[in-house]
Symmetry: C2
Subunit: 187 residues, 2 copies
Amino acid sequence: MKDELEIFNQIFSTTKEAIEKFMNMLDPVIEFAKDDHERLYYHHIYEEEEQRLSRLDVLIPLISKFESMEDAQAFSPTNNEFNRLLQELNLEKFGLHNFVEHLDLALFQFTDEERSTLLKKLRTDAYKDYQQVKEMLMEINKRFDHDYVDPHAHHDKDHDHLALPNDAQGKKVSSMKKGFSVGSLKT
Amino acid sequence: MKDELEIFNQIFSTTKEAIEKFMNMLDPVIEFAKDDHERLYYHHIYEEEEQRLSRLDVLIPLISKFESMEDAQAFSPTNNEFNRLLQELNLEKFGLHNFVEHLDLALFQFTDEERSTLLKKLRTDAYKDYQQVKEMLMEINKRFDHDYVDPHAHHDKDHDHLALPNDAQGKKVSSMKKGFSVGSLKT
């Protein structure tokens, strides 16, 4: 579990920096939006990432706390704080998922060299981290049979429409619910 | 606390139905989206509401459980499950806030009589419920000095840009961060 906590710590610290970069990019877009619709759109995404940032400010120290614990008993579903840690990690899996989609949506609109280069980099990292968090949590949730119900389990089982950039070139993800395809999103 | 739990139960049961109505509205829009960008946009909102719906499926029974408790000791920050209840309620305050914005964004695009009438109704309810949840939680968080840090406290303190529909006609919310204005959104 300690090794996993170290990876979680690294991933969520990295994504914290990524959020800040993304929010900095959105700042002037919100300020100079061409109309109220555009302003609400980016402001809304900005606020969702801001909410995530604030949750990570609580989660990262909690991960660190468990990283430094020597007592193996602490890593048990009978420990309420450990349960809370698992719940928060499960919530932030969706945070990462939603971040990937925020970046994809931005990639449609910020097509200039500078912003699209940064967005693609953030997207690649966030997608990789999302996959890793998902796999680690699937394993951990199996190991600790706690009372957490994954609200998105069917998504993980049936498909994963957040295809890797390399996978997505010219390819449709056919199993996507609602006939969603990502063929042209990631190139 | 019991009276408050009854109101929370009512609000989150109402919003659950509202989410379902909104998701039903998004379904065909996703299916018949004109391009990948539009499809990702609505699919993303759909998934965020789906995540919220799944969290409410856990939260509502937890509220009911506390509603039926006779032991006053249970309503204490020393009870871990009560802490969890407070944390979840605080999280779903943002869920309601984000829902209002999802509805506002939809109102820009679904301008036909049928959909805009339903959206305005859902928006009015969600905004009222958001305000009430916000006020109740501010009071409760003061009463129980637990370890929850509100990630959005500065928003509640400095301003609330989700103006009431009636307030917003032709009026700018001047205190909005990033110069955001809602003057034309709610009419």
